[in-house]
């Protein structure tokens, strides 16, 4: 166990899940809500030459996906450091601790 305590491990996992669910919520709203379910209503609004719903479906959702991954990477790196379960910065060839070696199902 790399965490200081069971409590830490639980808290880390809960924060991780919370972040993931928030980001997946945005993911769902941007693509399925704006791009598909409410596309008609949004099409009443114009963004330059684009109807807004059409723009979300063919452009906007993709930009939002990119932003989501960027936020996730930054936030998770912070979280890893907070609970000091981040990876060491030295040579990646030398694992910090050996992988549990187990063979199942043979």
């Amino acid at each position: 166990m790399s965490f200081e305590s069971e409590q830490h491990a639980d808290d880390y996992w809960k924060e991780n899940i919370r972040l993931m669910l928030i980001l997946l919520g945005v993911w769902f709203v941007a693509s399925f809500c704006c791009g598909i379910l409410f596309v008609e209503q949004l099409n009443a609004i114009r963004l330059g030459g684009f109807k807004l719903g059409f723009w979300f479906a063919q452009q906007g959702s993709i930009y939002i996906f990119l932003a989501l991954i960027a936020v996730y990477v930054v936030q998770m790196n912070k979280l890893d450091r907070k609970y000091s379960v981040h990876e060491d910065d030295e040579a990646p060839e030398a694992p910090a601790q050996p992988q549990p070696v187990e063979e199942f199902g043979q």
Binding site: M1, G49, L66, E87, P100
Partner: protein, 568 residues
């Protein structure tokens, strides 16, 4: 220089580059061969993933599909990018920490079952072969149009090149070749798009240009003009589409989840040194993919307006056939465009109603686009090189998954556990050589159902792998009984629905007969939900996963201590 000489030169130069990289990045160990030694930089890995992902279908067919589907084309745009969010947030970091070579290895170990592993191997091989057949065909099409060689020779040349760097270099050779191939294909995609965007709207960036005003001084927005043209000619409004909302919803979801469950995409995240890099790498991959995917709808719009204007002429009364631009003749000879003078006025006319006289294949839009817009010959040659790069990079990635599944998951872990690393590497090379020959055969003699089976590949990945992997990470207690029952019911349901509507009774393939109005393309989403439901139900009734498996799951949930991806 004429187009053909230029095409030979540019395509030849890119081939020389790929072979050079393959020689430099030869694989010495199974580790090199399967996961490139686990030492690929996240940016390079992102590029390689993008090249691996964007196939001949993305490069050649997608913009054409959108061009003919309008708004409905968004299912591909969102479906094939949104899956990367799922990959980055729910799969990549945990699978990297788990640290094995393949998806079947994860399924087999997490569910402590040889049966689960075997089911996963069979799914992986099937999904990959489905895909690779289409890729080889793509290579053949590009060769036969631009190099004017026979399609068979086109496929054989393509096979030879892939054989060389996939068999020799394994994942290491493939990864670095794919980086080069990404650069070639993205240039080939962006250059004509930028040219046309400037010509039509005066904007350098196509993503902005297709929402801009036309360059002709009329002040009309491009998309408004296209909606107007569509209405006049009896097509559905471009920005609205024709599919039902529920169908668009389910197809998008199936493509997203399918993307996140495709073995040749997932295996990419085993090649980076750290868990942190796996997260980052998914972001880079999506960035590189988004460059092409946000350009595609712009190309689709430009191409559609250009094509209608060229065929119907400035007065929208039709253009005389004798005065037709040369691209129409060029593509007529390949059989992908045809004209039938129904009203006998000697003029071509294109519309969505009974006045229509043209039959235009959707696949030519990207390849013909530079010709339609009258771009210089070197741009046309570049597009040919890009199409070949897209097809080759994806085939190589798929072939690797096939050979790994056979040599590692089937032979080493199942049938002959005592072979040495050197023998395993030998088997991996033999397996990829055999796989290339089969793929080439399928490319030269394509079974009629290639287009149909693409829906199959995504549906299967969505309804089998994705739920099993997600539950393997996010539920410690999920056991083998639940996972196997879930995978089997998900696959069986999805496959049965697709086979019924695509093969047994294609005549019934209409919205009235579909369940809840969901087409076979979108049914994978329902299969995935079924998989989850069955797995949870069965797991409730059977005992929890054993302690050592639960400990393993706890261990993959944080990054610290991730070693290299290993075989055992």
């Amino acid at each position: 220089m004429d187009i053909q000489t230029l095409t030979f030169l540019i395509v030849g130069a890119t081939f020389a580059l790929y072979i050079g990289i393959a020689l430099w990045a030869r694989a010495g160990s199974t580790n090199d061969f399967y996961v490139a030694g686990g030492g690929v930089h996240p940016v390079a890995n992102g590029m390689a993933t993008a090249a691996d992902w964007m196939s001949a279908a993305s490069f050649i067919s997608m913009a054409g599909l959108i061009s003919f589907m309008g708004y409905d084309g968004a299912v591909y745009l969102m479906g094939w990018t949104g899956g990367y969010v799922l990959l980055a947030l729910c799969l990549a970091p945990y699978l990297r920490k788990f640290g094995k070579f393949t998806v079947p290895a994860f399924i087999g170990d997490r569910y402590y079952s040889q049966t689960a592993r075997t089911v996963a191997v069979i799914c992986a091989i099937f999904v990959c072969f489905t895909y690779v057949a289409g890729q080889m065909r793509g290579v053949g099409v590009v060769f036969s149009r631009f190099l004017e060689v026979d399609i068979t020779w086109g496929v054989i040349i393509g096979m030879g090149i892939v054989f060389f760097y996939a068999v020799l270099g394994g994942m290491k050779g493939i990864t670095y070749t794919q980086v080069a191939q990404y650069c070639v294909l993205i240039c080939a995609y962006l250059v004509p798009a930028i040219f046309i965007s400037i010509m039509m709207t005066g904007h350098v960036i196509p993503q902005i240009g297709f929402g801009g005003e036309l360059n002709d001084g009329s002040g009309t927005y491009l998309l408004d003009k296209l909606d107007g043209l569509s209405a006049e000619l009896g097509f559905a409004e471009y920005t609205s589409g024709t599919k039902s909302t529920i169908d668009v919803f389910f197809i998008t979801a199936a493509l997203m989840v399918g993307t996140a469950g495709l073995p040749h995409v997932i295996v990419r995240f085993f090649t980076v040194p750290k868990v942190r890099d796996a997260r980052k790498s998914a972001g880079w991959a999506l960035l590189f993919i988004a460059l092409l995917y946000t350009t595609a709808p712009a190309i689709a719009t430009f191409a559609r307006v250009n094509m209608i204007d060229t065929i119907n002429g400035p007065d929208a009364q039709g253009t005389a056939y004798e005065k037709a631009p040369s691209w129409i003749g060029n593509w007529e000879s390949t059989g992908l465009i045809s004209w039938e003078d129904k009203n006998g006025d000697g003029k071509m006319f294109y519309s969505g109603d009974e006045r229509n006289e043209m039959d235009i294949d959707r696949d030519i839009m990207v390849l013909a686009n530079p010709e339609i817009a009258d771009l210089p010959a070197w741009v046309i040659a570049l597009v040919a090189a890009g199409g070949v790069a897209a097809a080759l990079s994806t085939s190589a990635g798929l072939l690797l998954v096939i050979s790994t599944s056979i040599s590692h998951d089937l032979l080493k872990r199942n049938l002959m556990p005592n072979i040495s690393e050197k023998q395993e590497l030998g088997y991996a090379r033999i397996a990829s050589a055999v796989a290339i020959c089969i793929a080439g055969y399928l490319g030269i003699n394509p079974p009629g159902f290639v287009a149909q089976v693409v829906a199959f590949a995504f549906g299967l990945a969505a309804s089998s792998f994705f739920p099993a992997i997600i539950m393997g990470i996010f539920s410690k207690r999920m056991n083998k009984e639940g996972a196997i029952a879930g995978m089997l019911s998900g696959i069986t349901f999805t496959a049965a629905y697709i086979i019924y509507f695509k093969f047994i009774n294609p005549a019934a393939n209409t919205p009235d007969n579909w369940w809840f109005g969901i087409s076979p393309e979108g049914i994978g989403t329902l299969g995935m939900l079924l998989n989850f439901a069955v797995a949870v139900g069965v797991a409730r009734m059977t005992s929890d996963a054993p302690k050592h498996v639960q400990d393993m799951v706890a261990d993959i949930r944080f990054p610290k201590g991730a070693g290299e991806a290993t075989a055992h």
